[in-house]
Symmetry: C2
Subunit: 127 residues, 2 copies
């Protein structure tokens, strides 16, 4: 997988990854990948990230069922950011039960919530 | 500007920022901000980043003229990523003269260019 060698990972071996809904263009989440997770993403066709908090591979949806089918993998001009065009299974990317993690907007100098919770997180992670 | 205190900057005092075309949803670029550049972005209404390579504030478009008018500033669930909804002046965000920095896609195990150069970089940066 020679294409992996063209990516400039950080000193920690990571690269930022943006997940965008392939159909609506909505930005759903941002996470990090290492070389292995990016290789697995390409191989398996579903997003695999590197969890910095848990220090392990994170197959998105492994607990919630909200997997991300990858339709395209794109790279930026500096070769240090990945963009995934995805289909979000279950329609929820955020652990808060919202469609997108970017659910707050700066309005009147305050972060105001602009997206509804679609599913109670307790229900998402109960199994 | 109390809202700035809610952002979790890295140990280096930075936060990743994604710039998305407010009208088409196209992801145009990815850069970093520090507290000052984010405050200036909100104040001035145009994207100001922190250039890690030049180690200074970077008013996007200061050389190219390709400024980014900010229509919305959004924050993710972990308070550590910023999303800007912007209008891209000149229609070109990338220093290569393309609309978006994410102009390569993984096809047949190769990074293939999928977007045209709209303007020669020599012409963009000649002044």
């Amino acid at each position: 997988m020679k294409w992996l060698n063209e990516i400039r990972f950080t000193a920690d071996g990571l690269v930022p990854a943006i997940a965008q809904d392939a159909h609506t263009g909505k930005i759903l989440m941002f996470a990090w990948m290492n070389r292995e997770s990016l290789a697995l993403t390409a191989q398996e066709g579903y997003a695999v990230y590197w969890s910095r908090s848990r220090n392990k591979l994170w197959r998105k949806g492994e607990e919630s069922g909200h997997r991300q089918k990858v339709l395209a993998i794109q790279l930026d001009c500096d070769e240090d950011v990945i963009l995934l065009k995805i289909e979000q299974e279950g329609g929820i990317a955020c652990h808060t039960g919202r469609k997108s993690c970017f659910y707050r907007q700066l309005i009147d100098e305050q972060w105001q919530t602009i997206e509804p919770v679609l599913k109670n997180p307790d229900e998402i992670y109960k199994f």
